[in-house]
């Protein structure tokens, strides 16, 4: 029985329980002297259905996530697995091929060594599969028995069902915390492993970045893991260049839309900005790499720059800036719109012109919101990946020349996790450490910005 059949069976049982409990409750009602029971029949139905389906499904879910490793364990314990190479890519290929054949996903194996393992795989997965099905069905049956024993005319099924609903809501909102905890835990865990190989001091203050997954798998040379050039590249592309583009253009766009544009013009221009914001970053990256970067190179060449890079920081930064414009603009628009009309009237009534009012009253009044928006924009820019992966370079360089190639934190995370390195190598773990730094910096920016925005909104409410 496959996972989806099992799911359908459990849901079917739940439905059956729902129908039976409902009609039983209707019977209670007819039997009752005043034609009333404590809860409506529907709630009896839901009560039964929940008891049947929820524990069974929860178990099935847990089982699905652990049975894979149980199967793997028992296969590895099989005598046929004794010939496997101890580790490395080949071992993984053999195992995954055998697994694919056993599960029917593939017809044949390309590596003959895998043939011997097909049968153990099939046996083990059948064994654990059957255990899973039996326990799931048992749980459904137990749930049904429990529910039906408790369903009586005076049973307050509604309260129970509503409690369950509230519980579900609470659990749903806990997913957010769980995600945050998951992020922090996985980043911290791998980062600590990395710091076991390379000291945090070397990592955070070193200026030479050249991880080599081939040579320093086990005993990495800490001198090759100095992340300062990455931090600098990220800052230079995402904060300096991108913000030089995005802040003035975004602010002026917001001011024009908010203060000058006729309503009809606004209804056309605003969606245009929203569409710009909706363009996927991979498209911007493609645009940067294929159109902007060569153009910048050509221009630099005609200006007499020697050997300008075709992966210049300028190309990535400019395109990133354009990507951020709608973001800055919408935050600034919201903040300016939140300034009370009375403030504007006060200035206009003194005889200020529109732009004097904007520059001297509206923007200063909206400043906290605008600054918070810019912080969020920076947080987005330094975390932006595809544009730099496609348009920036792999070379770590400490330079203030925008025409030179530079690399960023996100670029190196991708490069080190999609390369040849094994999961335990220093290069892979370094990617997690970089991710951790990125997470902390964006977290700080986000939390401060969100707090400022909130305070700002409250001030004018």
């Amino acid at each position: 029985m496959s996972a989806s059949t099992l799911l359908l069976v459990v849901l079917g049982l739940g439905l059956a329980g729902w129908l039976v409990a409902r009609s039983r409750a209707a019977m209670f009602r007819r039997a009752a002297s005043d034609n009333r029971i404590a809860s409506l029949p529907n709630y009896h139905g839901w009560y039964a259905a929940l008891w049947i389906a929820v524990p069974a499904l929860l178990f099935a879910l847990v089982w699905a996530s652990i049975s894979g490793s149980l199967v793997m364990q028992s296969v590895l314990a099989d005598p046929a697995a004794a010939d496997l190479p101890p580790f490395g890519l080949q071992r993984e290929t053999i195992l995954s091929q055998a697994q694919a054949v056993a599960s029917g996903a593939a017809q044949t194996v390309t590596n003959p060594a895998a043939n011997a393992l097909v049968e153990p795989f099939r046996r083990a997965s059948n064994f654990y599969g059957i255990i899973g099905i039996v326990v799931t069905l048992l749980l459904a049956g137990t749930g049904a028995a429990f529910a039906f024993l408790r369903l009586k005319p005076d049973f307050r099924a509604r309260n129970r069902v509503e409690k369950a609903v509230l519980g579900t809501l609470l659990v749903a909102s806990l997913v957010a915390i769980l995600t945050t905890v998951g992020i922090i835990a996985s980043l911290v865990f791998e980062t600590i492993r990395f710091f076991g190989m390379v000291s945090p001091i070397d990592f955070l203050t070193g200026t030479h970045w050249a991880p080599n997954p081939m040579t320093d798998d086990v005993n990495p040379d800490p001198a090759r893991y100095g992340a300062v050039p990455l931090f600098w590249g990220t800052f230079f592309i995402g904060v300096v260049i991108a913000m030089i583009v995005a802040i003035p253009l975004g602010m002026m766009s917001a001011i024009y839309l908010n203060q000058y544009a006729a309503p009809r013009v606004r209804t056309w221009l605003k969606p245009a900005l929203e569409i710009l914001a909706g363009v996927p970053t991979v498209v911007y990256g493609y645009f940067a790499a294929l159109t902007i970067a060569p153009a910048i190179r050509d221009i630099a060449m005609t200006l007499g720059v020697e050997n300008p890079s075709s992966e210049s920081a300028l190309a990535a930064g400019l395109v990133m800036g354009v990507m951020i414009i709608p973001f800055v603009s919408s935050m600034a628009d919201d903040s300016i719109a939140a300034v009370p009309q009375a403030m504007k009237d006060g200035s206009l009534a003194l005889g200020a012109t529109q732009n004097e009012t904007i520059k001297k009253v509206l923007v200063p009044a909206a400043l906290p919101g605008i600054v918070a928006g810019i912080m969020l924009a920076i947080s987005r820019a330094i975390g932006e990946t595809m544009i730099v992966v496609m348009a920036a370079s792999a070379t770590a360089r400490l330079s203030a020349n925008p025409l030179e190639a530079m690399t960023t934190v996100t670029y190196q995370i991708v490069a080190n996790l999609t390369g040849e390195a094994s999961t335990d190598s220093a290069a892979t773990l370094a990617a997690f450490a970089l991710g951790f730094v990125l997470f902390l910096v964006t977290l700080a920016l986000n939390v401060v910005a969100l707090r400022v925005v909130k305070r700002f909104r409250e001030a004018y409410e």
Binding site: S65, G68, S69, M72, S96, A105, E162, L166, T168, L169, L170, A172, S173, L174, V175, A176, I177, T179, T180, I183, L187, L249, M252, S253, I255, L257, Y260, L269, A272, L273, I275, G278, V279, P280, T281, V282, V283, G285, Y286, P326, S329, T353, N355, I358, K359, R380, G383, T385, M386, T410, I413, V414, T418, G435, L438, F439, N446, V447, A449, L450
Partner: protein, 419 residues
């Protein structure tokens, strides 16, 4: 009048009026600057769209050669026991279909020209025959894809030696760019003449289904909890900060999470839509929660009071009255979140959805790639043909995104503030 006896008020002096001229000039400059800023964004958008469209239209075409094939003489048959298209094509291959094609090509194009019929062209013909067996009894005029070299030469770059041949064949009307409907139905390939977008599109669809199935219910329920039931305490604050922060955390961090958690739990499902969808769901959920909360907040309290007053329980109030009214707003937020997820590449890059996937994924657990990833992968290819194909893939992606965003904007305008 008494005032006139005094000195002129400062706001009526000639100096004031002179300054006024300057102030108006600065006003005009400022306004032009604002208009310029926004027109710049619009210009970038238009440039991007036009640029992609122009180079992408070529991606929906491919260079093909005219080859008449006379199947009546070829002695090919479809075995009765062939179960599916793949077996039919294999059988035809054994019976010599490739030779039939190359022979016909030599007849029609000469030896040199026949060399540049795509190596895999016979397979496409085999698939056509499988779909329509009556072809075997006919003489048919086929258009077969060229080799990538000839396609480049025909487009005017690549190997200069081939350009005379391309010109000659084109003059004879045997070589031209033809609309390639197969682009929308095939999957990835190593030869730009043979690639298609359907594999990635289907991968995207499967991934989005997983994302929606997880993020929508969780997001809506969490929004309901926070807005309607959550007590004011530290936990609730923590949840709020978490959600707001998750909505602004770089997407690549979710990739690291997926890599460290999901791929450790489900090691066999590297590059499966299931894992990709789960990762994107975590990223989309906060967006839905925030949109959901705003929509729920906008439902006037009078509706809740009214329902409570007739004896509805708090749960009934929320599910019967508040949720239906908030739904349009929630849907708008969901669509925007899904559109973002659809265009997302970085986290999927980390969890390995960058495989070369030559057949469209069959299920949520088969190897798959997604549209933006396909764009990324193709953009790395050096063949000229891939440049156009990449732009074509971008057009497909943008069309989907525009549709989704358009729907969201429409929903928002339609249902905005009904009370």
């Amino acid at each position: 009048m008494s005032d006139q006896a005094e000195t002129l008020r400062p706001t009526r002096t000639p100096a004031f009026e002179a300054r006024l001229k300057k102030r108006y000039a600065s006003e005009r400059r400022f306004k032009v600057l604002g208009l310029g800023a926004i027109l710049f964004s619009v210009a970038v958008l238009v440039f991007l769209l036009i640029n992609m469209t122009l180079s992408g239209l070529g991606g929906f075409q491919r260079t093909e050669l005219a080859v008449p094939v006379d199947f009546t003489q070829a002695g090919l048959t479809i075995p009765a026991n062939a179960a599916d298209q793949r077996e039919v094509v294999q059988a035809l291959q054994r019976q010599g279909l490739p030779e039939v094609i190359s022979f016909s090509a030599e007849q029609a194009l000469g030896e040199e020209g026949a060399d540049h019929v795509n190596n895999e062209a016979w397979r496409l013909v085999g698939e056509q025959i499988a779909a329509d067996p009556t072809l075997l009894g006919q003489r048919v005029d086929l258009w077969l894809p060229t080799s990538e070299d000839l396609a480049s030469a025909y487009a005017g770059d690549g190997n200069a030696d081939l350009q005379p041949l391309a010109r000659q064949l084109a003059d004879q009307g045997l070589l031209e760019d033809r609309l390639d409907f197969g682009f929308m139905t095939r999957a990835d390939a190593t030869d730009p003449q043979l690639v298609g977008i359907w594999g990635a599109l289907k991968g995207s669809i499967l991934t989005m289904i997983v994302t929606l199935a997880l993020a929508f219910p969780i997001g809506v329920l969490a929004a309901l909890y926070l807005e309607e039931y959550a007590p004011k305490n530290r936990w609730t604050d923590l949840i709020e900060v978490s959600i707001n922060n998750l909505a602004a955390v770089p997407s690549i961090i979710f990739g690291l999470l997926g890599l460290a958690v999901f791929l450790t739990i489900f090691p066999g499902y590297r590059s499966a839509p299931l894992i990709g969808g789960m990762t994107l769901a975590l990223m989309t959920m906060p967006v839905i929660v925030i949109a959901g909360r705003n929509a729920i907040k906008a439902v006037p309290p009078s509706i809740r009071d009214g329902a409570l007053a007739i004896g509805a329980s708090p749960v009934q109030v929320v599910f019967h009255h508040v949720l239906p009214l908030a739904l349009p707003g929630i849907l708008t937020g969901t669509i925007i979140g899904m559109a973002r997820a659809l265009g997302e590449t970085a986290p999927l890059l980390l969890i390995g959805m960058r495989a070369f996937v030559a057949t469209p994924p069959e299920s949520f657990t088969s190897n798959a790639t997604v549209l933006p990833m396909q764009i990324f992968l193709w953009s790395d290819e050096i063949d000229r043909g891939f440049v156009e194909r990449t732009s074509a893939a971008i057009i497909v992606l943008l069309v989907f995104l525009l549709l989704m965003n358009g729907l969201a904007i429409y929903l928002r305008n339609r249902f905005e503030k009904r009370w």
